[in-house]
Amino acid sequence: MTNRMKEFQNLKTPLFVPFITAGDPSLEATVDLALALQNEGASALELGIPYSDPLADGPVIQRASLRALKNGMSLEKAIKLVSDMREKGLTIPVIIFTYYNLLLQLGEQKFFELAAQHDIDGLLVPDMPFEESKELHEACLQHDLSFISLAAPTTSRERLKEIGRTAQGFLYCISSLGVTGTRTSFANDLDRFLENAKASSHVPVLVGFGLSSREQMQQFEGKCDGFIMGSAIVKKIEELGPELVNEETKDKAIAAFSDFLSKVVPVKKVYS
C-alpha cells in the first residue's frame, strides 16, 4: 500500500472518491480536473480508462469513453498522465479504473512498472469479480498497489465476508443494481447490505453507483465511510467540455466545475 493510500484510510469520514474518465475532454483538462477535485475535497481519485465496451457503465460514462478514445487515450497514457498531475500538486491516491482487457493487453508486468513510475495507488477492474481476481489481487499487494474490490446488494453473505476480508484500500459497495449512472432510488435492502459490508471489512466502506447529490449521500450517513461519485461528475464535465478545451474559457470552466463540486462534496476537507 502506498503512503498516500494509508493516509487516505486515516482521513476523517465521510471520504469522497470522484471518478473521471482520463482524456475527457482532453488530456490536459483531465489534469486540471483532477486538481480541482482535490481542491474541492476529494479523498482519492478514480481515474477511468476509456474502453470500447464498458460493460459496467451507463450512457454518461460510455459517452465520455468514446470522447476520450477519440483523443487517443490509453491505459499507458492515462498512467503517465498521473505524473503530470503529481507535478502540478496532486497528492491524493489515484486509483486506475480499467476494464480487464486493457490491462491484459498492456501486460500486468508492464502495468506494475508504469504504476510504480507514475505514482499510482490502486487498481479497480470492474469486470473482474472476486473469483477471477485472486492472482491479480496478490500481484497488486506485491507491488504496493491496493486492489479495490466491489460488493453488490446481491452479493451473498459468504462472498461478502470473503471479499471484505481481503479488501484493500476501500471496499466499493454498489448501491444499486444496474450500471453506473445517476439514479433516484437505490436497492431496497441497502441498509442491511452496508451493515454486513462494514462488519466484514477492515478497510473503509464506500458507497457508489448512482449518487448525484449531497442529499442522497446523507441517506447513508453513519452507515458507510464515504462515497464514490462518477456519472454526475462526468456529466458535468460533458457539459463543460467545449469550454474546458478552449484556452480562453478554461479557467472559467474549472471554476464552474469547482462550484458544482462544492455543492455535492459531502464535507470539504482541505489538503496541504
Binding site: N101, Q105, I174
Partner: protein, 402 residues
C-alpha cells in the same frame, strides 16, 4: 480423451471464466444452479425433447449430397440439416432450451441481444410459445439494416430496443443486454444467442445445441453400420452450431474443422477471423480469442454473413484451437458465395451465408480426401434471410461486368 471442461470457475484451460461486474455474479450463480437442476430433471428433459420434436421439427435430416459429392470426386458429403428447423436455423434449439429453463426458474421475462436478428427472432419465437415477455436489444445500425427482422420480432410480440452505444452493432447490443439484465435480474432471464458470454452460458448453449451432434452421429452410424464419419465441418461465429455438432464427435476419432469468416481477406483487415487473427482477450465476460487493437479496444469485425460477424468466439473454441483438437480455417466472402451457389445448383438447397462458409471449406476438404471417406457439414441455417443480400451482390457484380 473425454473433455472435463469447463472447470468450476467456468474455465476451458485458460479460456472462459466470468469477467463480469460483481452485480451479475449472483445472477450467474442462480443461473448455474437453475441449469444444473433442470438438466438433471427428467421432466425438463422430456419437455425439451417434446418441444424440439413436436414444435421445431427435430430430428433434422442428415442428407447425402450425392451430386455435390460426384462433382468433387472426393469424400462423400453429408449435410446436417439445421436449416429445416423452425425459424430456419440451429438458433432455435438454444432459444427453446433457455426459454424452458427461464420458465422453470420462474422468470416472467427474457431479454436477448441480436445482430442481424436471427437470434432475436428465435428468442421472440420461444418467448411467444412459452408465454414469456421478451425484449430484444439490437444495435441502431443493425435495426436500420434489418428492418424486416425487426418487424418480425414485433409480430412475435417482442419489444425491440435500439442500442446507441459503441458501434451500434451486435457487440454493443450484447453489452447492453448484459447491462439491462443486471438491473432486472429478479424476474428476467438473459437468453444469450451463442456459446459465448460468462460462465455458465457457453456450457448452457453447448448443452442445448449438442442435440445437433448427437443426432448427426446416430444418423450417420445408422446409415453406415455403426461407423463414424472422417470429418465434421461447421462455421463459427460465436460458435454455437459448431460446438453443438462437435459435441457428438469431440471424444471420437473424427477430425473437426471450424470455419471462420475471412471476409474480404485477412490481409484487408475486413474479416471476422477471431482465431486466425485475434489475440486472447476478454469480451462479454469471457476470456477468449478476440479481434482487438494493440491496446485492447475491441474491433468491429466484418463478414458478408451477419451471423459470423462477432469479434470474439466461444471460449471452448479458443480452448479447442489452443489444444489443436479442432482445425480452424477461414473462408472469404467470395468463396462462401461460390459455395452457396454450388450447393444450390447441385442439391437444391439454399443455405445461409454463414453455413456457406462451412460448405466452402468442406468442398476444399472433400477434394483432398479419398472417395471412401466421408464428411458431415453442419448446415446451420437456410438462406431465405440472405436472398436480398445475394441479389444486391449479383446486381453489383453485373454492373461491374458491364
Amino acid at each position: 480423451m473425454k473433455t472435463v471442461y469447463p472447470d468450476s470457475k467456468g474455465r476451458y484451460g485458460q479460456f472462459g471464466g466470468k469477467f463480469v461486474p460483481e452485480t451479475i455474479m449472483f445472477a450467474l450463480e442462480d443461473l448455474e444452479r437453475g441449469f444444473l437442476e433442470a438438466i438433471n430433471d427428467e421432466d425438463f428433459k422430456k419437455d425439451l425433447e417434446h418441444e424440439l420434436t413436436h414444435y421445431s421439427g427435430r430430428p433434422t435430416p442428415l442428407t447425402y449430397a450425392g451430386k455435390l459429392t460426384e462433382r468433387l470426386g472426393g469424400a462423400g458429403i453429408y449435410l446436417k440439416r439445421e436449416d429445416l428447423n423452425h425459424t430456419g436455423a440451429h438458433k432455435i434449439n438454444n432459444a427453446i432450451g433457455q426459454a424452458l429453463l427461464a420458465k422453470r426458474m420462474g422468470k416472467k421475462k427474457i431479454i436477448a441481444e441480436t445482430g442481424a436478428g436471427q437470434h432475436g427472432v428465435a428468442a421472440a419465437t420461444a418467448a411467444a410459445r412459452y408465454g414469456l415477455e421478451c425484449k430484444v436489444y439490437m444495435g441502431e445500425e443493425d435495426i436500420r439494416r434489418q428492418e424486416l427482422n425487426v418487424f418480425r420480432m414485433k409480430l412475435l410480440g417482442a419489444e425491440v430496443i435500439p442500442v446507441t452505444s459503441g458501434t451500434r452493432t451486435l457487440k454493443d447490443a450484447t453489452n447492453e443486454a448484459i447491462r439491462q439484465w443486471v438491473s432486472a435480474v429478479e424476474d428476467t432471464f438473459y437468453l444469450i444467442g451463442s456459446a459465448v458470454g460468462p460462465h455458465p452460458y457457453p456450457k448452457i448453449v453447448k448443452e442445448f445445441q449438442s442435440v445437433i451432434g448427437f443426432e448427426a452421429k446416430a444418423q450417420y452410424k445408422e446409415m453406415h453400420g455403426g461407423k463414424l464419419p472422417d470429418k465434421v465441418v461447421a462455421c463459427v461465429g460465436g460458435g454455437s452450431n459448431a460446438i453443438g455438432i462437435f459435441a457428438g464427435f469431440v471424444n471420437e476419432d473424427v477430425k473437426l474443422v471450424g470455419v471462420e469468416a475471412g471476409g474480404k481477406g485477412i490481409l484487408t483487415g475486413l474479416h471476422a477471423a477471431t482465431m486466425a487473427n485475434g489475440r486472447e482477450g476478454v469480451i462479454h465476460g469471457s476470456l477468449t480469442y478476440l479481434l482487438q487493437s494493440e491496446e485492447g479496444q475491441i474491433q468491429e469485425p466484418y463478414s458478408i454473413s451477419a451471423g459470423l460477424d462477432y469479434p470474439g468466439v466461444g471460449p471452448e473454441h479458443a480452448y479447442l484451437k489452443f489444444t489443436k483438437r479442432v482445425d480452424y480455417q477461414c473462408i472469404t466472402d467470395e468463396e462462401a458465395l461460390e459455395a452457396l451457389n454450388i450447393l444450390c445448383l447441385e442439391e437444391g438447397i439454399l443455405c445461409a451465408l454463414e453455413s456457406a462458409h462451412a460448405v466452402a471449406q468442406a468442398i476444399k476438404e472433400a477434394k483432398a480426401m479419398s472417395p471412401d471417406e466421408n464428411l458431415i457439414i453442419c448446415l446451420s441455417g437456410r438462406g431465405d434471410k440472405d436472398v436480398h443480400t445475394l441479389f444486391e451482390q449479383q446486381k453489383e457484380e453485373d454492373s461491374h461486368d458491364q
